[in-house]
Amino acid sequence: MIVGEQKPFDEVWEMVKSHKQLTVFGCNTCVAVCHQGGNKEAEILASLLKMRATKEGVDIEIVDGGIERQCEHPFFESAKELLEDTEAVLSLACGIGVQFMAQKYKKTPIYPALNTTFLGDVQEDGYFTEKCQACGDCVLGVTGGVCPVTRCCKRLFNGPCGGSSDGKCEISKDIDCAWQLVIDRLKAMGKLDDYEKLTPIKDWSKDRAGGPRSFKLEGF
């Protein structure tokens, strides 16, 4: 799923304080799982902004709302009037949702309440870790199910580097060495000999290097 983190409150306030009316709008799927951007969080953020407005004597009408997903047209039906009549939107979606709304409501300012941080998993309640960078050419089949693009700080395809120490990365004791994990997995599967196979030079044109990506299903 997509993981995001709310921006510092002061930064959010600075973005929206000049408006007379604002809709704080949640996205109730990915970013709701990490308790940062769901409809409930939109309600809380709206309350905080109202308090700040009162404190600073700023006249701004703030309402909140939300839908299941801000990245697909059908979900917007239920919020049609709310969004068409609003002066500005503070979206708690990831960057995809913010852009989708900006495209949909051509004249309405749409502000991001979140920093979209990564594609990750839920290791345990309240703990999320990055696992994929959507490089467009998955190598997990040869790396024991551990992604070197995402999890090696130097994205080495033939690691580990000389900085791997006690299973940790040279840049931080809080980061696992991805190649230690690859090797542990290969060993557990009885495939350690595969370590010596050289991984060829990657085609990054399928990554962001090749420009914005899209894909269209035929027959829809």
């Binding site: 130097k154 080495l156 000389g162 120490s165 230690q180 350690l192 030079i201």
Partner: protein, 310 residues
Amino acid sequence: MEIKTKSRLEKVLKNGHMAVSSECGPPRSSDPAHIIEKGHLIKNHVDCINITDNQTSVTRLCSLAACIHLKQEGLEPVLQMVVRDRNRIALQSDILGAASHGIHSMLCLSGDHQRFGDSPEGQNVFDIDSMQLLQTVRYMRDEGKFLGGDAIKVPPNMFVGAAANPFADPFEIRVPRLAKKIAAGAEFIQTQCVYNLDKFELWMKGVVERGLHEKVFIMPGITPMRSVGMAKYMARAVPGMDVPKELIDRLSGVPKDKQSEEGITIAVEAMERLKECTGVAGFHIMAIEWEEKVPEMVERAGFYPRPEFD
């Protein structure tokens, strides 16, 4: 052994001599005087001089320019090249540029992560990794082609090396990893600083068992300790560095003003012991900002004078 390039290091190694290389770090300045001076301090005692490439991710005068300065002084530089800062276009371009200036040896490295340097907020590149850089240089030299497949009219004439760290984890893949670097095209290896001689010899035993020492020239890295403080710092803070407690104790047992001398002695003793180790083809002396001590170390270890060629 067939000599493939004009590299002096290759000539020394393939003529059966123990090679001695050293390294100099370029200045954080546009004035090359200091690195030229350092090069001249050691030129008669080493076969070649590695020039580091923005080591520890601190921005410096570029390795290629520093190599050219040394070359113009008649010295023999080894171009160090990291894949952190340049994509495949820039790497191949710099390889051609180096070869055009008569630089015929290079060392392919990943590079320290930028978090350690003066630009922790910078982007890193890592378009290819250090193994793939080895493959790239060998492909350019041996096939006479760019990675994109186009022919290179005059291919770069490069003797190609890589680093190895026998002390990084996991230890069990450190010999397979060397085999992988050889398969990728490494012709010489300069290792991480060796302080734990027992562990180095254990690694070399694995290397020799697989016959890898017959496929690549292995040069252990030697860095003299200037003080017990330096030894403790390296043990504590440098990832992948193995500094045994006995070494720290030995330096601690010496008065402060004698510790640097003791550090030199320890380094010389390491070379004397390791030159007897099967598969060791020479030494790479990294006397970090202490280049003036290199001649003494080379002489005391019995590697002076250096071989001369016509």
